[in-house]
């Protein structure tokens, strides 16, 4: 007895001897066989069919006498779905109403069925390892959780690679080289975590031993196919099985009966003889390429094009009657895009690839909640939470209030803090809305003292209960998975007593949510989105490989602690092994039916090379048949068409008298001058921007503060002595800035401190000219009647009004506007007062002289409006314009670029998208 292994056979040149379809077997010696047993090798020509079919036929042939009872036999399959496909193939080949099937099972599940309970949960091993690492000071800033994770994986891989005590010495042998740190670490880890037999690989090995006993008792044949890369432990198990019972492993063999498989084999599994010779042989055997009807390529210029090409290919396959389609998601993003496009057609795709939990909406809710707890309700996270359907009961019921609350937060500039929010909510709603009360209560109850991981999880769990999240999350498939995972971890970590702070625990939690995934099993569809390993051994009508570029195919291993050569020395699988397995998987898939290989030939602005497999296949094809493979073109995804919008035009709305405002400030007037359409948006429609709550204080806040300071200064009747006045101004300023955050206060104080003396000097100078302060923040109003519009009010508020009696006894007044902009700019503005109407308009409203007082540079000098300015004409232009508007003049969007640059109405005016 022994293992019968059916290996990929090197080229059997067509025309020589083609083994017959079915169970033609001959023995040979496999010397390079990693199984290292004296095995009998059987070769099968799997003519025209996929592996599962061939295996099914063989099985039925060999055990025809037992039919319909195949119980007792075992067929090892790569995964459960492959098992289902195999069962179907078996039933199909048997043509009987019923079969007692063999045991069809993946090796892991078989072992699991007899595995013992002796296992330390991974979470606890991780925690245990971490608690050691966190005290290793030489590790420095290395993130211990990630390191522990990596080490644990490696240790388990080592366990799986070889059993027994020789790992330690193997590793130590390596230490002769300079890999000191890694090897000492991993050795230590392996010794502490993987030597007491509680690690999963040890348990697996024990289970396999138990199976071995069963096999020995029953001595029934075992079959297997497409098992992929086996670990040493698994190989050992099969070898030992073979001593007790017949074991037969099937692998696809390349032969010339299946043209496509043969061509792929020639392209991907051989490099000798030279390409052109292989091509010539191929062309001789098949004068016409077998590939074009079967294999299509799609080098797409960008992601969307790729997705659309795949989508139209899928549609074509469906129309051609194919049903079971595999979409191999090498490029996750493109694959998701494909799924969304197919979704538009109601072509549903069952996604077997899953999501890491951390990318689910459910995990986001937990994250936001924890952030609210730890940072005292930052408004951003709080609002995210309030708008989530997963917490606090019915979302619709609170929706309006939440929106009001959000606007209030923005308007009041409350960025965080329960206390402020409480106040705001109470003033807004009269009482604390229940949703807010619940959150605040739950936060109070969330203990934040250092604690073991399981206690933290318990705290989280009970607080999720408090905010009504548990039920809602459980009702969501991903949410339920998140809760389950956390519960499971909590149970696993019961015995772990290492204590952690909130921050450390959250890091752990992030890692935990990152390492588990959720698979949406709710879609039933013959079209599956899956990975290469998960597709292994399964049957499909057609296959699309999405992302067949050099980055994804074969996948590049992430650099780990050990280099590939070190891994090879230790008997771990290497990148080369993985690449071979990938190629084998791919060949099997592509051999089954129509196939597409797509990738983005461009990524951003960079060329994105195709997979070496694609390059090799194309080269072979070119050499053999002088042509390239067919290319898949892209399609247009369906939409819900409706009447299309008009071409964009420069807007020029007209408005009626009823729609015009009744009050006009200089700002409104200036807006009308700058751009009538902007006036339409701001003053006719009355649309304003909302403030962001957490926007840093800006230039305008500084200006406002100075305005307040100066008003207060002058209201306080400052003494006309320099030092005393300066002292008063300083006191007022300090008091004003004291309420600000430390840095802003310091920066503003410092900036203003440099100006203050100059301001006082300028003021004393002003006083010396006879000017006296009359009032600050003065409002002026002038009623006006506009034909067609009726009575309106022109109004304005000026910063300061001063008055003096001149030598002739005449009284003069001047209105002063403080400015924090540059004096040069202001002077430039005043060169054309007809376009910068603020000062003339003030002068007209107040019937006084007017001046800007720039207070952002020294010396401080007022800039007065030229006395010649025709303020009356300038001001009366506004009512004239209004009259024209009422009479039907359009409010055209005609701002100059400088105005448009910061125009909040650009989204409405759409300058830049106009047809001429």
């Amino acid at each position: 007895m022994g293992i019968a292994r059916i290996p990929p056979k090197d080229s059997s040149p067509p025309g020589v001897e083609i083994p017959q379809s079915g169970a033609a077997s001959h023995a040979s010696q496999g010397d390079s066989d990693p199984l290292r047993t004296e095995v009998r090798v059987e070769s099968y020509a799997l003519g025209g069919g996929a592996l599962p079919h061939a295996v099914a036929r063989t099985l039925l042939d060999r055990h025809a006498d037992n039919l319909p009872d195949l119980s007792g036999l075992t067929v090892l399959v790569p995964n459960h779905r492959a098992g289902q496909d195999f069962a179907r193939a078996l039933a199909l080949a048997a043509r009987r109403p019923v079969l007692i099937p063999p045991q069809i099972i993946p090796l892991k599940s078989w072992a699991e069925s007899v595995a013992d309970d002796r296992i330390e949960p991974q979470a606890r091993r991780l925690a245990r390892l971490h608690s050691v690492l966190r005290h290793e000071s030489w590790l420095g800033t290395v993130d211990k959780w990630s390191l522990a994770n990596e080490l644990l994986q490696l240790a388990d891989e080592l366990s799986a690679a070889r059993l027994g005590g020789n790992i330690g010495s193997q590793i130590r042998a390596l230490r002769a080289d300079a890999l000191d740190r890694e090897t000492s670490l991993i050795e230590a880890v392996w010794r502490t975590l993987n030597q007491d037999g509680d690690d999963p690989q040890a348990r697996y090995a024990r289970a396999l031993d138990a199976l071995l006993e069963q096999v020995g008792l029953q001595r029934q044949p075992i079959y297997g196919f497409a098992l992929g890369t086996l670990t040493a432990v698994e190989r050992q198990f099969l070898e030992r099985c073979a001593e007790r019972a017949p074991v037969t492993l099937f692998e696809p063999a390349a032969d010339a009966t299946d043209a496509v498989a043969f061509a792929l084999h020639q392209a991907w599994q051989l490099t000798t003889p030279p390409l052109r010779e292989r091509a010539a042989t191929l062309a001789e055997a098949f004068p016409h390429s077998p590939l074009p009807p079967r294999l299509t390529l799609c080098p797409a210029p960008h992601l969307e094009a790729e997705a659309r090409a795949v989508a139209i290919w899928v549609a074509t396959q469906l129309q051609a009657g194919q049903r079971d389609l595999a979409l191999i998601a090498l490029d996750r993003e493109a694959a998701r895009r494909v799924r969304a496009l197919l979704d538009r057609l109601n072509v549903m795709v069952a996604d077997e690839t899953g999501w890491t939990l951390s990318t689910t909406a459910a995990a986001a809710v937990i994250d936001r909640w924890l952030e609210c707890v730890v940072s005292d309700f930052p408004h951003v996270e709080l609002l995210d939470l309030l708008k989530s359907p997963f917490v606090l009961g019915d979302l619709v019921a609170r929706q309006d209030q939440v929106l009001q609350f959000e606007i209030a937060l923005r308007r009041q500039g409350v960025a965080r803090g329960m206390a402020d929010m409480l106040r705001l909510a109470e003033s807004r709603f009269g009482e604390l809305p229940p949703w807010l009360a619940t959150l605040f209560g739950a936060r109070q109850n969330f203990a934040q003292s250092r604690a073991p991981l399981s206690i933290w999880l318990a705290r989280l769990s009970s607080s999720l209960g408090e905010i009504d999240a548990t039920a809602a999350l459980s009702a969501d498939a991903a949410g339920a998975k998140v809760l389950d995972t956390l519960d499971g971890l909590r149970g696993d970590l019961d015995a772990d007593n290492e204590r952690y702070s909130f921050g450390e625990w959250r890091r752990w939690l992030n890692l935990a949510l990152e390492s588990a995934s959720f698979i949406d099993a709710s879609v039933d569809s013959p079209i599956v989105l899956t990975s290469l390993p998960a597709a292994r051994g399964r049957l499909f009508d057609a296959v699309a490989v999405i992302g067949a570029d050099a980055r994804h195919l074969p996948a590049r291993p992430a650099p780990g602690l050990f280099s590939q050569s070190t891994r090879a020395q230790l008997g771990l699988s290497t990148a080369g092994d993985e690449a071979n397995a990938t190629t084998a998987d791919l060949m099997h898939l592509l051999g089954q039916g129509p196939a597409l290989m797509s990738w983005q030939a461009w990524n951003d602005d960079e060329p994105n090379p195709a997979s070496p497999l694609v390059l090799r296949l194309r080269a072979l094809h070119q050499a053999a048949w002088g042509s390239d493979l067919p290319m898949q073109t892209s399609g247009v995804p369906p939409t819900r068409p409706g009447p299309l919008p008009e071409p964009g035009m420069q807007p020029a709305p007209t408005v009626s008298a009823a729609q015009l405002p009744r009050r006009y400030s200089p700002t409104a007037y200036q807006t009308l001058l700058d751009c009538p359409y902007r006036f339409f948006v701001k003053n006719v429609l009355g649309i304003r921007e909302l403030d962001e709550a957490d926007d840093a204080l800006d230039k305008s806040d500084y200006g406002n503060a100075l305005h307040r300071i100066l008003k207060s200064f002058h209201d306080n009747a400052p003494p006309p002595e320099r030092d005393a006045a300066l002292a008063l101004l300083s006191d007022i300023s300090d008091a004003e800035f004291a309420t600000l955050p430390a840095w802003t206060a310091a920066a503003w104080r410092s900036r203003w401190a440099a100006i203050r003396p100059a301001y006082i000097d300028a003021w004393l100078d002003w006083v010396a000219q006879g000017w006296r302060y009359e009032c600050g923040e003065a409002a002026f109003e002038v009623p006006f009647n506009v034909p067609g519009l009726g009575d309106i009010t022109l109004h304005g508020r000026v910063d300061r009004v001063d008055r003096r009696i001149d030598q002739n006894g005449g009284e003069a007044r001047i209105v002063i506007d403080y400015k924090t902009g540059a004096a040069q700019g202001l002077r430039k503005k005043l060169n054309d007062p007809a376009e910068a109407i603020q000062l003339p308009f003030y002068a007209w409203l107040s019937d006084a002289a007017a001046a800007y007082l720039p207070i952002n540079e020294t010396p401080v000098t007022p800039i007065e409006l030229n006395g010649e300015t025709d303020v009356d004409a300038i001001s009366r232009r506004l009512p004239q314009l209004l009259e024209a508007i009422v009479a039907g003049a359009a409010l055209r969007a005609n701002g100059i670029d400088a105005a448009c640059q910061y125009c909040e109405a650009r989204g409405l005016c759409r300058k830049g998208m106009w047809h001429e």
Partner: protein
Amino acid sequence: MSEPLDKAIALSPTRSAVVEACAGSGKTWLLVSRMIRLLLAGAAPSELLAITFTRKAAQEMTDRLHDWLRVLALGDDATVRTFLREREIPEHEIDGLLPRARGLLETVLTAQPGPTVTTFHGWFLDLLKRAPLEAGLPWGAPLLGRNRLLQDEVRDGLLAQWSAHPDSPEGASLLALLADIGEHNLNALLTHFVDARAEWWACTDGAADPVGHVLQRLREGLHPDLDSDAVAAFWANESMVARAKRVGLALEKGSEAERKTSTSIHLALADADFDRLRVTILKKDGGRRVKKANAPTLKAMGAEADTFLCDYGALETALETVATIQTDQRIWNLNRHGLLLGHALVKGYQDAKAQQGVIDFSDAEWLACGLLQSEEHAPGLALKLDARYRHLLLDEFQDTNPLQWQALSTWLAEARTADSDMTVFMVGDPKQAIYRFRRGEARVFNAAADFLQQHFEAARFSNDMTRRLSPALVQAINPVFADLEGFASHAHAPENDSRPGALRCLPISVDKTEAAPAAGLRNPLLTPLAEADDRVVHVEAKAFAQVLRDQVLGRWSVMDRKTQRSRPACAGDVLALVKKRTHLRLYERALEATGIPFITSRRGGLLHALEAQDLIALLETLLLPHAELKLAHVLKSPIFGCSDADLLQVFAPRPPDETRGWERLLALAGQTDCPAMLHPHEAGRGCKDAEALKDIDPLRAEARVESYAPATTLARAARLLGGWRAHCGTLPVHDLLDRLYFEGDLEARYAAAVPAALRPQVAANLRAFMQLALTQDAGRYPTLAGFIRELASLTDDTDAAPGEGLAADGENAVRLLTIHGSKGLEAPIVWLLGGSDHTHSESYGVLAPWPPEAPRPEHFSLFGRQDERGTWRDRWFAVEATLTQRESDNLLYVALTRAEQGLIVSGAADKNSWLQRVEKAWQDLDLPADLPLARSVEASQAVVPPPRIGASAIGQRRPPTPVHPAAAQGELFHACLEHHAPPGRPRNLSALAKRLGMAAELSHIEAAARSLLGQPHLAQFFDPAQYRRAFNELELLDAGGQMQRLDRVVELDDAVWVLDYKTGDDSRALTDEQLAERHQRQLAGYQALLAGLYPDQVVRIALLLADGRLVKLEPVHTM
């Protein structure tokens, strides 16, 4: 020095070589040819390491390598021979190498690992990933995407902290600097410091007190006495005061101006006003006056004149000394405080990254360089790499920075000692070094060349023959750069002898006087304001678009790269270049107005594009429909295409009506005459695609009606917005967006709304936005609000903002790029747009000169305003200035050499130095201004529109199965039966109970199950003595391939029984008849299966309930 290129030596696989290669001379050709030569000579693919400057260049190199290997593998023998011959393989070796040449494609493609073609950063990151413990890295540290964001966060945090503790050293420094240079300059200073952190680390590496270390070295160059009050010392110096007094007195008798001076001196002395004295004696800028006094005055002084001049001179010296001390004091203070804060800021930034477990490019560079230079770790590093590099190919080496070169040279020197067969091949062009702002240093090229000559006996060549530029262009470019140091006249490639070229220099000037204001006040309703500034750029932009449209496109004939035949120029042939992005918008507008399609890559411009803003506004509206501006914005966008009249309806005041905005929109849409309220059937009627709707799933029924209803735009908006809002909390952003695109028919609507010239870019941006959502979704803890926030913070992040979508190649549009962005590109026609360039010198920055051969910067200090730099550092500032000038020359060189045949340079006639330079160089050359006119304009091929994707629905979404306790109990009971009924089938009951949340009930249920098994009336099924054979959970495969699982099958003497357990509570309430009825079909199926197995026996079936009730079903006679 370098010699003309000898390809045979340069490509020889056993020699090292340096090639300085001008633009368009075929650097990539050389590099890749050399790779092939190496491979042919037997180098393993993994022994090749090629490093270039951008990922794009690396990818292009890989592509080229594969292409050529394909030629070698597939070409006929003659082709391959020619190929090898062109790459200087000696004739007698060619035949012997053929087999190897033919196999190289597969050798390379199957190599594990293959050749490494990467960038410095890529290589560094790879090194670090393999040696994280040595580098002391956060584990598996990913690259931080948003440096600036984190830097700003850290800075704001620290500033707040420092200013809250004014007594701490940092607090004191902060206040001092604030008072001294102000917030704005402080920010600039700190930003520059953080940017120069690698230099800072290099300077202070190993120093216990980095700040002190650097300060100490600075101190040596400054005036020895910085602590005392120089001004006070001046006044205290009585003899000096006396001299001043004498000078004042002497001038009293002079001219009127001199008398004024005299008064000023007296006043200054009286008030002890030092500044006044200084500006009186010295010139305003601190320099000395040529004439200390008028000749007559001096003459009048007679013998006193000498004393006067002596006094004056002494006074000048004294004043200058004070000024020097004052400046040095300012420098000292700036550095004392600035370095302290900068250092603390960098530390804070590093800590923040460590906290997040990320690194940035600077870290990668610094750490990797440290590793490569480390005596302890470098040897071990080799073991961790999967590849042993033996042949290094360096591309674009002029953009390398000194730190990179330090690391590389150390490593090379070591490697060469260990392996004398190692070769290095370096290409680059110091004339094309334009990355000073990323710390690239052109001089490194020469340093490296010297090093390679010395250590690797590298041959050194220069190649000044360009294959890209046509003869006329070469002729035009040579004089522009003739004065440039190290510039050798270029020659054109012989194969281009007859290729035509065209050159234009277009100075733009504006008539200043023309802007006379019209009489009277402007009426804004009729007359727009004239564009004020940058009139030159406006004029230039207009000329740009018009010349292209009227004289170039379709008229000039250019050589097609693929076909090598001439054809009329199209928009895709034009590359328009700008130095800075400042005026990009204006040029775009001009192209828009002229209807010329174009693509810009305003770096980070995607989120500024109007269509992207529309989408953001849409998402914001979905979250917060009360944000009026956003709502109005979305309504006006092509997504909804509402008119201004519509907006008036929604927003304009209506006195009795309090609502506006969202509420009013809903109300309007809800009015009975609004088509939104039509019955679905009516709404859908008349729709041409109504048939297609049949298959749309019921979930979307509402949306379907919406988009097919002949509704007003407002009603459509209200319905769609309302529908989408319902999906906000639950759908991932990408899926939500897809729904918006799909139901909103976005792409078609935008195509209809925007002018044709904009379509390619708009379509590309819509795609890019979708892709952005896809990438964002893959991040941690995504929410829609989070996505919007991320976009908002990305919008103005110069480093991380996503670029605009690139329209696919083949889309025919003018490319409008910065010169930096055009690196590596070429085009038949290049237009260099100049506008009016202003350059202002930098202030409040870091001076860290790093000569290429030095191990670290030779100096590190901060500087302030132009006039406060002192004198000691002049030599370094001078070098910086030269380098800056050189960089500007290089930029011009890069810009001009992108062109193959047509080159147009425009800019402000009086303000643009490049334009002036070009104009001067070309003035006497009589260059052709046009390319030959194209003969016929070929009819453009009709573009076949791609087919629409269509398929009928398949698959379905299963409603979630609710878990209720009764079902769980049933399942557990079932499992207990399975476990305990002989022959038994062991189940892990406690684990199952735990999973079902019924651990507490297990013992109870298990007991119930066992007691059930013991019930006498069931004995014939459960007592082994009473039956022949029994199976639990018998699996059978039916003819269709479905696995059927029978709870229990019992072979009795007279019949075979199938027992089906119905252990859930819900069954108990039903009568036997009801149960039989309910399970009839399922059981009939079982029966048929068993009949297949036991063809000769009677098959009976029964249901077994948890309470022991057995419901026997009548045998069904099938077939």
